[in-house]
């Protein structure tokens, strides 16, 4: 352990890889000191673990009804109880975490590259390119997210993929704005001027010099937005426009369970708690990442 630590903390790295590992390790040391951020990371890690291990830690996939076993209260047989069709709620919440992760992952994969590319190009190039790209961004920023998502789903038909697409299309613009603001200040910095005076091509400067400096604030914003994305997805599910039954999507589970809210509270409560905890986890993680990554909060 101490040999690994020494390798990570040496002042004289011997290779590109070691230098890179060192950077992550130092960031981790800063991150580790932030208690709530570590809690956030633990929650997100639990979510990922739950999703990966679902086949082994659950008795069923939580989709087959068992009408003889309806609405059991939480107990040793069913930790979270069973729902109106006799499906184990613990199983459904665990399998549901896969869907949540799927939404989160797909939205990130769409939103980050689009927002980053548009923002960085607008900020670095400036002039009419900047104006054009930013007006486009404003157009998307002007749509109310849930309403546009509703319209989208109404046009393309309900389903998880369409819900994700609707969320992504309506949420990339703030990322473009953030990336542009960063790129604008970077454009005038000496190290970018140095790269230009050396004849390094603009595309290479944008991708290799400007974008990496903007990525961190975009990622921080993304983790902070995750809660909102999960809630929007759950909201669409609740309205019946997202994942379709019997898929154990948390929002849809609450929608179906709300009839039992008074007498069999556990049916809507557990997916609700899951949404709450995961949203909170991403939020805490985002706060912690901001402390580590945001160049402005460091000296």
């Amino acid at each position: 352990m101490s040999a690994v630590r020494a390798w990570l903390l040496t002042d004289i790295p011997q290779s590109r890889r070691q230098a890179q590992c060192q950077r992550f390790f130092l960031a981790w040391l800063v991150f580790r000191r932030n208690g709530s951020a570590v809690a956030g990371l633990a929650i997100v890690a639990t979510l990922v673990a739950g999703a990966l291990l679902a086949p082994w830690i659950t008795a069923s996939a939580g989709v087959t009804p068992d009408l003889g076993d309806r609405l059991h209260a939480p107990g040793s047989a069913h930790w979270f109880g069973t729902d109106e069709l006799g499906r184990d709620i613990f199983d459904r919440v665990m399998w549901g975490s896969r869907i949540t992760l799927y939404i989160v992952g797909l939205v990130s994969v769409i939103v980050v590259p689009i927002g980053l590319a548009i923002g960085v190009v607008a900020g670095y190039v400036g002039g009419w390119v900047d104006s054009a790209l930013m007006r486009l961004t404003d157009v998307f920023l002007a749509f109310p997210r849930l309403i546009l998502a509703l319209a989208f789903v109404a046009a393309l038909g309900p389903g998880l993929e369409n819900a994700v697409l609707a969320i992504a299309v309506t949420s990339w613009s703030p990322y473009a704005r953030i990336a542009r603001a960063e790129a604008l200040t970077l454009r005038r910095s000496d190290f970018i001027l140095a790269a230009r005076s050396q004849g390094i091509p603009h595309l290479r400067i944008i991708a290799g010099h400007v974008a990496p400096m903007c990525v961190s604030s975009v990622i921080v914003r993304l983790t902070l937005d995750m809660a909102g994305i999960i809630l929007t997805a759950a909201g669409l599910g609740f309205l019946g426009l997202g994942a379709q039954p019997p898929t154990p999507e948390w929002g849809a589970m609450i929608a179906l369970g709300r009839e039992y809210l008074l007498d069999q509270w556990w049916v809507p409560a557990f997916p609700g708690i899951a949404i709450l905890v995961v949203s909170l986890g991403f939020n805490l993680l985002g706060d912690g990442l901001r402390d580590v990554l945001d160049p402005k909060s460091r000296d």
Binding site: D190, F191, L193, R196, Q198, G199, I200
Partner: protein
């Protein structure tokens, strides 16, 4: 044209903004530097000295309007420059804390320009470039934040020299450094100039640094050149223009009598 002239600037004007509200940062500057020579631009903030240097390096913001002629070895230095031309003129910036990319290792900082300009045997070039500025190979995979100010400025110099330029533009290369480190960097620059017959154009507010480094200089104020003189004249304290004399006197330290003359 004279083949011994490396850098030639005539009637250079730089303005920021348009119309009546335009700010004229440089008004009619002209000078020429011999190949292998070292030339100084001296002035205070707002004198336009750094703007002249940035115009030469071609890194002015797009809002700047440049008029006049700049040439290097007879080739015109316009707004759009072929990569091969950029390679021949390199710049070292004032602030070694701001001029190196904070997320790039020394290896990448030196390797990228070499790769972009299509040089071969990059690995050995990087080691040589580091050795040339007095850093050993152990610095190669460090990030800028792991280096001191003087070490960073050495890396910045190595980055400028790795693509083998003819002309090096130095923008206050030591003003952010301690005096003992300044002495080391100035010595290094002088040695590199001798060994590689480089041409230097140096901007500084510090008359002593320019007098030490350059053979000739211009004194600038408010965008204009007020005096052109060679270093012998400066050393014997014979500048003609009153402003140059002020600068010279102020550079000698505090003097109550001198202060009331300004």
């Amino acid at each position: 044209m004279n083949p011994a002239v490396s850098v030639e600037v005539t009637g250079l004007q730089v303005a920021f903004g348009r119309g009546r509200r335009a700010f004229r940062a440089v008004r009619n500057a002209g000078f020429s530097v011999e190949a292998g020579g070292s030339f100084g631009l001296v002035g205070e903030s707002g004198s336009g000295k750094t703007t002249v240097l940035r115009a030469l390096a071609g890194v002015l913001p797009p809002t700047a309007q440049v008029r006049g002629r700049m040439r290097m070895h007879g080739e015109s230095l316009g707004a759009i420059r072929p990569r091969a031309l950029r390679r021949r003129m390199q710049m070292v910036f004032q602030d070694p804390y701001g001029s190196l990319h904070p997320r790039h290792t020394v290896d990448r900082i030196l390797g990228e320009p070499a790769r972009v300009h299509g040089l071969d045997s990059i690995d050995s070039r990087i080691d040589e470039a580091l050795a040339g500025v007095g850093l050993d190979a152990s610095f190669r995979f460090r990030y800028p934040h792991q280096l001191s100010g003087g070490q960073r400025q050495r890396v910045a110099i190595a980055r400028a020299l790795i693509i083998e330029p003819d002309v090096v533009l130095l923008d206050e290369p030591t003003s952010a450094l301690d005096v003992s480190v300044q002495a080391e960097i100035l010595n290094l620059l002088q040695r590199l100039r001798r060994e590689r017959t480089l041409t230097f154009v140096l901007v500084s507010h510090d008359l002593a640094v320019v007098s030490h480094m350059a053979e000739a200089l211009v004194v600038m104020r408010a965008g204009e050149i007020v005096e052109t003189l060679d270093v012998a004249a400066l050393r014997t304290a014979a500048p003609q223009h009153p402003y140059s004399r002020h600068l010279l006197r102020a550079s000698r330290g505090y003097d109550r009598a001198a202060a009331s003359e300004f």
